[in-house]
Symmetry: C2
Subunit: 349 residues, 2 copies
DNA sequence: TTGTAGGCGTTATCAG
DNA sequence: CTGATAACGCCTACAA
């Protein structure tokens, strides 16, 4: 009967430091210290402990460690959708940086919904994440669900979609400058009536992009025509077709389009081509994000490149610095650089 | 003096059930039970507890709950790369299903590396995930790092990239059938010399896809020409160009190409067009995955559609059933259906 | 209906 | 150099 017991030596992995301690005739504190090569433990003891741990397949229980240390190693990430090129690169960068440092990444999608974002934040809080990275839902205009983290000393870094608040840590691009440069590029290519597809205006990001567009027009003395300022809410390819039709059927249609993302820009190219409008001769187009699709659509789509993976890594790096109290090294706002990638869709000269 | 206490009402969120208990003059077990509306607790007590909990901003500590219950609510996910259309949809589906059930999703990327996959699995194990979803790295041919979970009673579901092992839970498509259908489609469109870009052959998935291609040729009495069977390792767009050049510069070039993914198919279209090869008249092409790019490349790329998000949801659903001991409801192998999406790149009739 | 006590696995403090 | 003890926050027999 004890036989069966011994035979089932299937390395059960509930081995704890106490099991090791018992078998070695030492205390569990000694085991705990030996496992992390604490200097105060004798060489032999340490070796013996580590060897037995390996033999029995001991695995530390991070749940217990985190509870005891009052500090977990899980970073929470909230994004609107994972399956979008820019965001999946962003998340990929976060995951890479976090894992290299031995941290886990908890992921969640808000689907652009404020309520879901609140729920996700709440779940993360209860899971005692050690830090939060958020790219806000378009719906989100209040931040109480984020404030709870700060109140508990859990650092938060906003990425890309950020709130209008100077107090918080942000990693982003200069959205105004980006669309300014994009608009400027179109102007330099000879466009004089440039339309802009803007995103949901309550999102600061889209507001700034609008502003860059307007500022560029002003700088070059081009009139601002309200009819040329369209607003998108979903920013899907489908919506892109609607916008394209709207813009191109104006009595006085645009000769250039600055789209707030590549989805809508691509749809516009497809729509224009189907109507016999030549790109870029009749209509120059530039998108935003520099998604992979830019080099596949014909003509290739000019776009504003923003470094997704780098933004993710940077956000994680900032998070770690804040956790390590090297706050002085972390600027409230980090601006990553963007650049216009000039491709056929906008090159008229 | 108690005043100051009351005034500093900055809801510090380290409130525990003991704090609530103390303030209400009850025991912490009562609080614990009241919070989950245990029937044995008086209505008034329950109400009082919940109200105070809300006032003080009490938040349950999942770390402690999991430790105590010996069961966490975190699902680990290992995929090769997040930022690929199919995989990000897969992960998105997983996240959605998991979160709806109140579970967290821990994500990690293997970058197709066996060693990194092992490291990720190890980290997850230490974090005491309650279940694992894996889509294996191409390098992976051994599964000891996965076995540890099974040995500890932690369910594992393989998704898409699965091992050659009947014992494990798998959610996948019928890869052989998929490429069989795709090849058949090309044959029905009049192709007689069909080339195939295969993936790393050690991955069962790619082996099966090769087999479907070969079987279809056989069924229709077409000769199998080794020169038409190319092998890709990275499956990147860049590699697609190399493969395209290799295939199209053969002495007797193919009139149809079955690519193992859309990346390489798209590159082939671009390459062929640059060489004046007409698609689909001179060369019919079909890809695999049905990435968004298929409807943007011109001509639109035919492809094999596989339901990414559904696979992810299904995997999570299976995991939950296994956790709930409803094992009888979970088939070892779940095959999701695929279909050929016929587009211009292959329609010659 | 409520309270007591013990423990989940680990680490930190203090003592030897 | 090592050990005993007490937490971390929660849950759950068992008692009352």
């Amino acid at each position: 009967m004890p036989r069966t017991h011994l035979i089932s030596m299937k390395k059960k992995s509930n081995v704890t430091i106490h099991d090791l301690a018992r078998q070695l005739g030492v205390s569990s504190s000694t085991v705990s210290r030996a496992l992390k090569s604490h200097h105060s433990i004798g060489e032999e003891t340490t070796k013996a402990v580590k060897q037995l741990a390996a033999e029995l397949g001991y695995r530390p229980n991070n749940l217990a460690v985190s509870l005891r240390k009052q500090h977990s190693t899980s970073i929470g990430v909230i994004v609107p959708h994972i399956n979008r090129p820019f965001i999946s690169s962003l998340v990929s960068g976060m995951e890479q940086a976090a894992r290299e440092a031995g941290y886990n990444v908890l992921i969640s999608q808000s689907y652009e919904s404020y309520d879901i974002e609140i729920g996700n934040a709440s779940a993360f809080f209860n899971s005692r994440i050690c830090g939060l990275l958020v790219s806000c839902a378009n719906e989100t205009t209040q931040y109480a669900h984020i404030q709870q983290f700060k109140d508990s000393g859990i650092p938060v870094v906003f990425v890309d979609r950020i709130p209008e608040n100077d107090e918080c840590y942000k990693v982003m691009i200069d959205n105004r400058e980006a669309t300014f440069k994009a608009t400027e590029h179109l102007i330099q290519q000879g466009c004089r009536r440039i339309a802009h597809y803007g995103g949901p205006p309550q999102q600061l990001m889209y507001h700034l992009r609008r502003q860059g567009y307007i500022d560029a027009l002003a700088k070059y003395g081009l009139p601002f025509d309200e009819n040329l300022l369209l607003t998108a809410t979903k920013l899907t390819p489908e919506e892109g077709f609607v916008l394209a039709e709207k813009a191109l059927s104006l009595p006085n249609p645009p000769d250039g389009i600055l789209a707030v993302n590549d989805n809508t820009a691509v749809s516009t190219i497809l729509y224009a081509k189907s109507k016999g409008i030549r790109i870029p001769q009749d209509l120059a187009i530039i998108g935003f994000n520099d998604d992979p699709v830019c080099t596949i659509i014909e003509p290739n789509l000019s776009s504003l490149h923003q470094p997704g993976a780098e933004m993710g890594k940077m956000a994680v790096s900032h998070l770690f610095k804040i956790l390590d109290n090297e706050i002085v090294d972390v600027p409230r706002t980090t601006i990553l650089s963007t650049h216009v990638v000039q491709r056929e869709s906008s090159l008229r000269i």
